[in-house]
Amino acid sequence: MKLSSRSKFGIIIAVLIILLVVFNLTGFSKSIRSLFFSISWPIQKSFWGIGDSISNFFGSISEGERVWLENEELKLKIQELTAENVALSNLKEENESLRGALDLGLKKEFELSFAEIISKDVSQDFILIDKGSKDGIEKGMPVITWQKALVGRVYEVYNGFSKVILISSKESSFDAQISGQDISGVVKGKGNLSLYLDFVPKEEEVKKDDIVVTTSLGELFPSGILVGKISDIKKSDLEPFQEDNISPAFDLKETRDVFVITNYLK
């Protein structure tokens, strides 16, 4: 029996669908991805580096003036911060000696695992890092930058790689509060690297540039990790809550390395 080309094509498509369903259900797709990640990793790393250099080069040309002004501003800020730092280190010493005296002991610092970003997902709210289960990475571990800015949490773990869901993903939501104030809410991702603070009663006085930090309420992230700054406040007479847009503290274009907090227990 001779099959027509249309029938052959139909059979190929049917076999393909069955194979894909089996791969997705049995978790074999994970092994395929892991294999491709290990092959692609060196090439992607080079592309990432080249992209970074080219973007920096063009960025510095087009933003020369802005950078100069920002530099001047930052110089002033450094002076202010240096003075503040001196005052804070005095306070820290005092605090440490008081803690020692009270025999409370210092809270253990986070155990961090250094990881490099290999790639970003096409939908932008996932990244791939070069640490996986063999490095002790587990699903749900928080991921931060060196400035202690929250990036996201580990979503999927492979042998030598992990997928990190960014806090800006539509699937992401966690408890947070305005730093230094008793205003808390839920930070939700909007996709495309934007996020907002929800469930804050509209009577609460949230201001632009207020700093948003995590709380340990939902036990997803440790408390006090920087999420971002309030960039825009939306209040409506019809809604009981205000919606405050947040500009994230991490800049993915500028970030090449991240840290995974490996000892935060859920």
């Binding site: 094509f9 498509i13 393909l16 669908i17 894909l20 369903v21 791969f23 997705n24 797709s29 395929i32 991805r33 491709f36 990640f37 692609s40 090439i43 992607q44 790393k45 592309f47 990432w48 080249i50 992209g51 970074d52 080219i54 973007s55 290999i118 790639s119 970003k120 997902d121 096409v122 939908s123 932008q124 996932f126 791939l128 979503y155 999927e156 997928k163 869901i165 495309n192 690297l193 934007s194 993915l252 274009k253």
Partner: protein, 96 residues
Amino acid sequence: MFLVLYILCLLQTSFLVYFSIKGFILNLVLVAVILINIFESPRDMTGIFLAGFGGLFLDIFSERFLGFWIAALLLTAILLKFVLREYVRFPAAKRA
């Protein structure tokens, strides 16, 4: 050609990230699949197979389930083939 699609996919998920416009990155694999299917003969099936492989590469680097991009690119290629075969006539085709 498979290698070219693979390299385009790697470029898309690493190099092009730095040149995103309002958070959107050019889908090089999709563009390549569309161009291949437009410029090859409407009866040639290579473009459809390349769409399948391009989709597989995109799926591997995507958080979606395996098959999403395969289906998307295959549908695009098949639709393009259908439209080009049924509704478009190139003057050059007369010479063939």
